[in-house]
């Protein structure tokens, strides 16, 4: 009976997770299909528009704009949280009301002081509060724009940011952005609303979209929900007839934003980590059969989460029509994905829950990093021509990112090894051997992929500007990763390092990879910078120090390792339960 329970539990976890996700899908879809409120805001949100060179739903414009202004994706209006699309509609069609919303986040006290407000503690301001001081802001911003971006101080950056925020707002407000009028037989590009209105006045021919938007905005302005909903539905029908693909994509994107797969995946990765850590704890302390069961449950949950992660990644590829890695944000999503995939493969060979544990950590951390990199703006931005749709570039980025993934997997497994060995008595001979094999194999894999990735990058560079290798910071970062792995392997083959040495150097691999991934991007920023990259730099330093500390632990002489002491002191007492775990694992 108990055995049956142990066998079933992983499935229960998997099914429960899938069911919970299904519920979230239904919820997100209901949101996209229409809301119980008087206005069908969500349907308005699915209308395709063009902004920053990409066709996207109005909803995405609302979210990214509000994010840029206030750092949030929703807004409290009359004490109730309202979606970004409601705010955008107010900005476009209820201007007086929208001007009172405190949406402009201003962090710098000196910039705040420009507004002469009574309460200097408040950090979000309304358009109405800013407008009287607009002239001064423009003057300051002009002064700043003459200073090279690397030399700007915190005040100057914040002034410029405020100027950009207000410009974004004004463009929405005057309907110059997004480009709302789709291409027509007489015009093959998207157009801003105002321009289409002027053209209609000049030529006498009115684009049907102009009429539709006028009806929608008027109905909303005069608070006529029925007319508003009807006009939105009609306009969407027009799209279904003329450009069904654009509307389908827009619908999907609204669903994608509401579903937030990466957000849920982050929580699930944390759960995976907790389960796997529990398994490890049980294995070390009691050797109970539950250790194996927990490891299996963690793996089951990891597989489900990985599917969710894959769905998110695939959705972005579909929406963008580009390979999965296009910017720093998507590289973080992809590094996490690759690490989890490799961890699942490794776990297939060594069913100990260790790779699962590592996958939980790396999966959650990379998605949190991605979330923070999203910052403000659309994460599916368009790329510069040279970075666009080139076979070598696409394969280069993917290979190099998988190389990062493998390095981080080896690194986290090495961290598990060192922490288990030094701080606990649980690093049994069996765990020791398995971890060593896992790390060694992963490093070989990482060397292969980072080398191939670097080479593909060289081919791309040679094809694009005739320089296979240019010694620029990013290329050097990639070379460092290749050399690091080559160094570890040759040192091992030459007998210069043993297990402990491999582990310590694998952790060093984390530092090198973090440097190649983020450090090289921060080089140009310098110490004077503020804002996001400053925070990122602090985190990078913190990460490097943490890894150095772990390496220091790993370099302690073996007799100081708790695991070694226990193994030498009481070998039998510890070994028996470990063996027990092994058999129970095999049975499972």
């Amino acid at each position: 009976m108990m055995q049956r329970i142990h066998a079933i539990l992983p499935w229960v976890v998997a099914v429960a997770a899938v069911a919970a996700l299904a519920l979230l899908v239904v919820q997100a879809q209901r949101g996209a299909a229409g809301d119980p409120g008087a206005y069908h805001l969500e349907r308005f949100g699915t209308i395709p528009v063009s902004a920053d060179g990409r066709v996207k739903p109005m909803d995405t414009v609302a979210r990214t704009s509000l994010m840029l202004l206030s750092g949030r994706q929703s807004l409290e209006i009359d004490g109730e949280p309202q979606p970004a699309i409601r705010w955008l509609l107010d900005v476009m069609a209820q201007r007086e009301q929208a001007e009172q919303y405190p949406v402009f986040r201003i962090d710098h006290p000196d910039v705040r002081a420009m507004l002469h407000e009574e309460e200097p503690t408040e950090n979000r301001f309304s358009f109405a509060q800013i407008m009287p001081h607009w002239q001064g802001i423009v003057e300051q911003a002009q002064r700043v724009s003459d200073v090279p971006s690397r030399q700007r101080n915190a005040y100057q950056r914040n002034v410029l940011h405020l100027y950009q925020q207000v410009s974004v707002y004004m463009n929405l407000h005057t309907r110059r952005a997004p480009y709302m009028i789709p291409p027509s037989p007489t015009n093959d590009e998207w157009m801003p609303f105002e321009q289409a209105v002027q053209e209609a006045q000049a030529t006498g021919r009115t684009h049907p979209a102009v009429t539709a938007y006028m009806t929608i905005f008027l109905a909303y302005h005069h608070q006529q929900p029925a007319q508003f909903n009807e006009a939105v539905a009609e306009y969407r029908t027009l799209f279904t007839e003329r450009a069904p693909a654009a509307l389908r994509k827009a619908n999907f994107e609204v669903f994608f934003s509401a579903f937030r797969p990466f957000y849920h995946a982050t929580s699930l990765y944390v759960a995976v980590f907790l389960l796997a850590a529990g398994s490890l704890l049980l294995r070390g302390t009691t050797g109970s059969v539950w250790a194996g069961t927990l490891a299996q449950m963690a793996l089951a949950l990891l597989v489900v989460t990985f599917c969710l992660h894959t769905f998110g990644l695939a959705s972005r590829v579909y929406l963008q029509g580009r390979p999965p890695v296009t910017n720093l944000y998507s590289s973080a999503v992809f590094v996490g994905w690759g690490t989890v995939l490799l961890a699942i493969l490794v776990e297939g060979f060594h069913r100990l829950g260790l790779a699962t544990l590592g996958a939980g950590v790396v999966g959650a951390v990379t998605l949190i990093i991605a979330h923070n990199l999203a910052g403000d703006g659309d994460t599916m931005e368009m790329m510069q021509a040279v970075l666009d749709s080139n076979f070598w570039l696409a394969t280069h980025v993917i290979a190099i990112t998988i190389g990062y993934s493998a390095t981080f997997l080896a690194g986290i497994l090495a961290i598990v090894f060192i922490l288990l060995g030094v701080c606990t008595p649980w690093l049994s001979r069996e765990l020791n051997q398995s971890l060593t094999r896992m790390v060694y194999g992963t490093i070989c894999f990482a060397l292969l992929f980072s080398f191939v990735g670097t080479v593909l990058g060289g081919i791309w560079a040679d094809q694009s500007w005739g320089r296979f290798w240019g010694w620029d910071p990013k290329e050097n970062g990639a070379a460092l990763i290749v050399l690091m792995h080559a160094l570890i392997l040759h040192a091992r083959w030459g007998g210069m390092i043993q297990t402990r040495g491999i582990m310590v150097l694998a952790v060093a691999g984390n530092i090198i990879t973090a440097w190649a991934w983020f450090g090289t991007n921060m080089l140009g920023v310098g110490l004077h910078s503020y804002g996001f990259m400053d925070a990122a730099m602090r985190w990078l330093f913190a990460f490097v120090f943490s890894q150095l500390a772990i390496m220091g632990l790993g370099m302690l002489p073996p007799h100081l390792w708790l695991s070694a002491q226990t193994r030498n002191g009481r070998p039998a007492a510890r070994k028996a339960p470990a063996e027990g775990t092994r058999t129970s694992l095999n049975r499972l």
């Binding site: 997004p178 790329m383 194999g441 080479v455 005739g466 010694w471 050399l483 040759h490 210069m496 310098g526």
Partner: protein, 392 residues
């Protein structure tokens, strides 16, 4: 083999040397990356990677805001480390490796590494690249090396050919130095040399260092050198020069890479010469005419979507006259050189082509195929064995 020689070969073949070389290479690359925060990529390449000895400034590792650290340390440079790696590999194969199927992957891989290193040597020594800037509707037959400037003195009195004397940058960078040459109609004394600069208009009548020419209305400000981390930025040199004829000063001119056209006239004894500081030119036997330049952007943004140049290639020596389109990732290969779409002139009025001549361009491709193949064979064999064991 005599004993000492054997011992020497063993040391050269040792894995310890390999690991040490890897570690040193990593240090060098890291320092060479940091150096690009304040230095130009070409200087760093020459000073760190394409040299036997690199002199590393200690200041690199300490932010200037924290402390000033003087001093440089010598460090093995790219040529030395690369050369030693090749020696190490060859020695290892001579001493340790036996030809066997099990070793096949490693041998192929190491062969690839050698070709890769040799390829970088060849590129470093023989490759040469420059820019060709052509306005729409116009043509060009020379390549500019944006890393080096030259001062040219031109005699246009002959209707058929212009008589040009070019003074290389290396003779201009020392203030106070006087350049004398029989071919020059006057002596040139360098008053001031600015490796990177910006020019500003000043109201007429404002005193400037120049006494004649375009410099009367211009002021110059020194700029920090363009750094590697900023990407494709260029240093724009400017200089003040005083011209003498028979010990008698003719005046002080401002010459700058910013004002290459039109050239400034200098009249000596009733004869007019033209002077300009410009990027070093290499003339080609052929001419490229820019027929059309296209620069598309994404709707409503400044983000470029693509650029392309439709050009006409005219080479009388080869009796060639044809059209070609050069676009992003789609270069033109001609006469041993490759023309890449690199940039555009402000306002899309012209194109900038990167012209690269690299006799070793194929080597990295061969090398990388070998290394990747070797790794696949080697790790593949391991993986098959491991999976086989795991399955059993």
């Amino acid at each position: 083999m005599p004993q000492p020689l054997h011992r020497c070969l063993d040391a050269l073949a040792s894995l310890k040397l390999t690991v040490a070389l890897f570690a040193l290479s990593m240090c060098l690359i890291f320092a060479g990356t940091l150096a690009q925060v304040h230095g130009g990529i070409w200087d760093v390449m020459a000073g760190y990677f394409r040299t036997p000895i690199a002199w590393i400034e200690l200041q690199l590792f300490v932010p200037k805001q924290l402390a000033t650290v003087p001093g440089v340390v010598p460090f093995p440079g790219g040529y030395l480390l690369g050369g030693l790696l090749i020696v190490n590999l060859l020695a290892a194969h001579a001493v340790r490796f036996k030809l066997s199927a099990k070793r096949a992957g490693i041998i192929v891989l190491h062969l690839g590494v050698i070709v890769l290193l040799v390829g970088e040597f060849v590129t470093g020594l023989l490759a040469d690249e420059g820019l060709m800037t052509i306005d729409e509707g116009s043509h060009a037959s020379f390549v500019e090396d944006i890393r080096e400037a030259e001062l040219v003195v031109m005699d246009r009195s002959d209707a058929e050919v212009d008589d040009v004397v070019a003074v290389p940058e290396s003779m201009l960078t020392t203030p106070g130095r006087t350049v004398r040459h029989d071919a020059l109609p006057f002596d040139i004394t360098v008053e001031q040399w600015l490796p990177n600069s910006r020019l500003f208009n000043v109201p007429p009548g404002t005193p400037t260092r120049a006494t004649l020419g375009a410099g009367l209305q211009l002021d110059v400000r020194e700029q920090p050198p363009a750094t590697g981390v900023e990407g494709n930025t260029i240093d724009w040199p400017t200089a003040y020069i005083t011209l003498h004829r028979g010990g008698r000063p003719l005046g002080t001119w401002l010459v700058s890479t910013f004002i290459q056209n039109p050239m400034q006239p200098v009249t000596v004894d009733g004869r007019t010469y033209h002077i300009a500081l410009r990027f070093k030119r290499t003339y080609k036997p052929y001419t490229l005419h820019l027929l059309e330049f296209r620069h598309d952007r994404f709707v409503g943004t400044q983000t470029p979507r693509n650029f392309s140049s439709r050009i006409r290639l005219v080479d009388p020596t080869q009796n060639e006259d044809r059209e070609a389109v050069i676009s992003m990732n789609n270069p033109l290969r001609y006469d041993g050189a490759t023309f890449y779409q690199s940039a555009y002139k402000e306002g899309d009025v012209g194109t900038v082509l990167q012209v690269v001549r690299n006799p070793g361009w194929l080597l990295p491709y061969v090398a990388c195929s070998l290394v990747a193949l070797g790794m696949l064979i080697h790790f593949g064999m391991h993986l098959v064995r491991f999976v086989g064991r795991a399955v059993r």
